[in-house]
């Protein structure tokens, strides 16, 4: 595909790549960080069509992974499946999912004159820039994992996002494969409207239904007619088995039978991630054996149900960056017998500066079971107040420790964890990076 590029484009591309690579080298040798955004930003200044020129060179195609939760884990699983088949894959594995991050991932895999020699590119894409990058990327497949309320201060609202996605995806070539979550009404609706090939993924396992619809739910109204949906059951948040009593809109049939598949890691949300990646891999022609073997041997991406051993004590980091994700990580904690939990709440740009979402989380479930809860982060007092207001009596049921200093908070949390128990850490995104840095002594971004 590289030969399709005009000579003049190739020269500009080569120059842009060269400059970007020098920046990467410079940033790393000066130990300024892992250079996951800046090289892309600079190269794009020099050649604005960079994304398009680079993506054209990917041999078998670009795969987009979009959605509020689970992008990194799904991408890592799909990448591992493809690599196990011997494919070369480029991937924005640091989770930098805005335009400059995508560009930087491509640049990492190009040689000095801008030739990209990979079979697949797997790109985790921020929900808000999906409409902007689909046309230049011309992806082979698009995985739409879920749409939850996340970082609303940056994105506006769930309805608006799905409308924008539908509009742009509809303009892509008919052979584009779209893989939406059937259990998410908004995405099921999106899939049902598209002219492209659509393969749904979702659960058919009523034994995993929740007892009640949690409060942190966005979309229980029919995306087609606005009537409220009837749920036979809810798996998590607004994901479930639904029909509309007014217009007949109902969940689409998933391509894979979920009960026949093992899942990676812990938590029902990872079952969705598993099914999304498996559906995509099958569609790309990977045999079922390789897919199942990869699933069975899968290790966590950093901070996503990642297990570490620190000073002989087990630590599990469960990224908790929005109400749905946090309700699920709380479900993991409450299903364990471990009684020490550290919550770290930051309000930096990658976390979303609006932390009001913590009031949509059912922290009551965590507090009811007692134990020691340590809180830290930029918004430590907001988190502490949320936990305090989870208690129905003036006397506290928990040992609540408020510690502004993260290092000290981690040390205290480890001290409180008995040798045979696991410390669960529930951090927001930037907090997760900091926690890992403290625990492992290494920076990852």
């Amino acid at each position: 595909m590289g030969n399709k590029i005009k000579l003049i484009d190739r020269v500009r591309l080569g120059f842009a790549v060269l400059v970007a690579k020098s920046v990467t080298f410079g940033v790393r040798s000066l130990r300024l960080g892992a250079a996951s955004v800046l090289p892309g930003a600079i190269a794009r200044r020099i050649e604005p069509r960079l994304l398009q020129l680079l993506s054209q060179q990917v041999k078998n195609g670009v795969i987009i992974i979009a959605g509020t939760n689970g992008k990194t884990t799904t991408a890592l699983l799909l990448r591992t499946i493809l690599e196990n088949k011997g494919f070369r894959v480029c991937h924005n594995s640091t989770g930098a999912n805005l335009e400059n991050g995508l560009m930087t991932a491509f640049l990492e895999s190009t040689n000095l004159v801008g030739t990209l020699d990979v079979d697949y590119a797997i790109l985790e894409v921020d929900e808000n820039i999906v409409p902007k990058v689909l046309t230049p990327l011309q992806p082979k497949a698009i995985l739409c994992l879920n749409l939850f309320r996340d970082q609303l201060d940056r994105y506006g609202e769930v309805d608006t996002i799905s409308k924008r996605w539908t509009k742009v995806i509809a303009t892509l070539p008919p052979e584009t494969v779209v893989i939406p979550n059937a259990d998410d009404p908004t995405l099921s609706h999106l899939g049902q409207q598209l002219p492209q090939k659509v393969l749904f993924f979702g659960l058919n396992e009523p034994q995993h239904y929740l007892e009640a619809i949690p409060h942190a739910v966005d979309s229980i109204y029919c995306p087609r007619c606005g009537h409220s949906l009837d749920y036979q059951g809810v798996y998590l948040s607004h994901l479930g088995d639904f029909t509309c009593p007014s217009c007949g809109f109902t969940k689409s049939q998933p391509a894979l039978v979920s009960s026949e598949w093992q899942q990676i890691l812990v938590g029902l949300y990872n079952k969705y991630n598993t099914l999304a990646a498996a559906t995509a891999a099958k569609e790309l022609g990977v045999d079922e054996n390789t897919i199942r073997n990869t699933i069975n041997n899968f290790q966590a991406a950093f901070g996503r149900a990642e297990d570490l051993v620190i000073d002989g004590k087990r630590v599990r980091i469960l990224l908790s960056k929005n109400p749905v994700g946090t309700n699920e990580t709380i479900r993991v904690v409450t299903q364990s017998t471990d009684k020490t939990t550290l919550m770290v709440l930051n309000d930096r740009t990658p976390d979303g500066t609006d932390v009001s979402w913590i009031w949509d989380v059912d922290t009551e479930k965590l507090v009811e079971r007692g134990g020691t809860l340590i809180v830290s982060g930029d918004r430590v007092y907001d988190m502490a107040l949320r936990l305090r207001y989870s208690e129905k009596t003036p006397q506290s049921n928990i040992n609540l420790i408020v510690e502004e200093d993260l290092k000290q908070a981690i040390a205290t949390a480890l001290e409180h964890t008995p040798p045979n128990e696991t410390l669960h850490i529930l951090p927001t995104y930037s907090a997760m990076l900091e926690v890992r840095e403290v625990l492992t002594g290494r920076k990852i971004l």
């Binding site: 009001s356 907001d382 003036p394």
Partner: protein, 268 residues
């Protein structure tokens, strides 16, 4: 006397976008911790006008534009009259983001038709269009609505500063209704005239979520006290609660925003 308090929560599933539930939880807990019996009554599509009339304090949150339309279609006739009657008769309430828009004359969304409001508060809200920036960020206001400011000052011994977070696309312009306060940090109603929120009878309207009440517990207590006075026709003194965490949360926000916290006032 066994005190009872019923909290009416406007459309909990349709209007609860930004942690607005926190306001309900704060009132509920602060009443529970003092030993009152508390009931939270969802005032949704299934609620009757009589149920609306039965509540002692009302909480309303924000909504996405589509949900706001569904609410307005439902909030007609006897139900609309019940809300109007409650507010006019002094039932206290806290209304955030979308719900003040719905209590005002109208709201014009970024795309689509104008949504008519109940016209109880003399204010209008307009979304200036998809490409206009949302008003997002930490918010500090000084309560200036005279009666409320006086009550809160008596309760706390300081000028009442409220700490919150705003996150709204719409801009609100006040008519004859009194503003809730003046902006000390942030944007408020429209980013232009320095006003934030509105105060009418005992209804507090604000763009401040975060939610508002956990970090401003004295406002929660004012709502509870006002509700009980109306219900039992006598002044009921609330026993103080341990609010160290809320005070630390406020201090840490004042420090972060470099806002000088309010000084204690010398009462005459």
């Amino acid at each position: 006397m066994n005190l009872e308090l019923t909290i009416g929560w406007l459309y909990p599933t349709l209007m609860s976008t930004y942690g607005d539930r926190g306001n309900v939880i704060t009132i509920e807990r602060r009443a529970q911790w003092r030993g009152y019996s508390v009931k939270v009554l969802p005032l949704d599509q299934n609620a009757t006008a009589d149920e609306i009339k039965s509540v002692d304090v009302i909480v309303g949150g924000g909504a996405q534009d589509r949900q706001q339309e569904i609410v307005m279609r439902d909030l007609q006739g006897a139900k609309a009259e019940a809300i109007r009657e409650k507010i006019e008769n002094g039932t206290p309430g806290v209304f955030t983001c979308g719900s003040p828009q719905l209590l005002g004359h109208y709201y014009e969304p970024g795309i689509g038709q104008r949504i008519e409001g109940l016209g109880i508060l003399d204010l209008v809200s307009v979304h200036p269009g998809e490409n206009t920036k949302r008003c997002i960020g930490n918010l500090v206001i000084e309560v200036t609505a005279s009666r409320l400011a006086k009550d809160l000052e008596e309760m706390t011994g300081t000028k009442p500063y409220l700490v919150g977070f705003e996150n709204h696309g719409g801009r609100t312009k006040l008519g004859k209704v009194e503003a809730l306060g003046k902006v000390i940090y942030g944007l408020g109603n429209n980013g232009e005239d320095g006003t934030e929120g509105a105060f009418y009878q005992n209804a507090i309207a604000t763009y401040s979520h975060g939610p508002l009440l956990p970090k401003n517990p004295f406002v929660a207590d004012w709502l509870i006290q006002t509700a009980l006075r109306l219900k039992y026709q006598q002044l009921i003194t609330l026993q103080p609660l341990e609010d160290t965490l809320a005070m630390q949360a406020r201090e840490s926000m004042f420090k972060k925003l470099q806002v000088s916290p309010p000084k204690p006032t010398v009462l005459a």
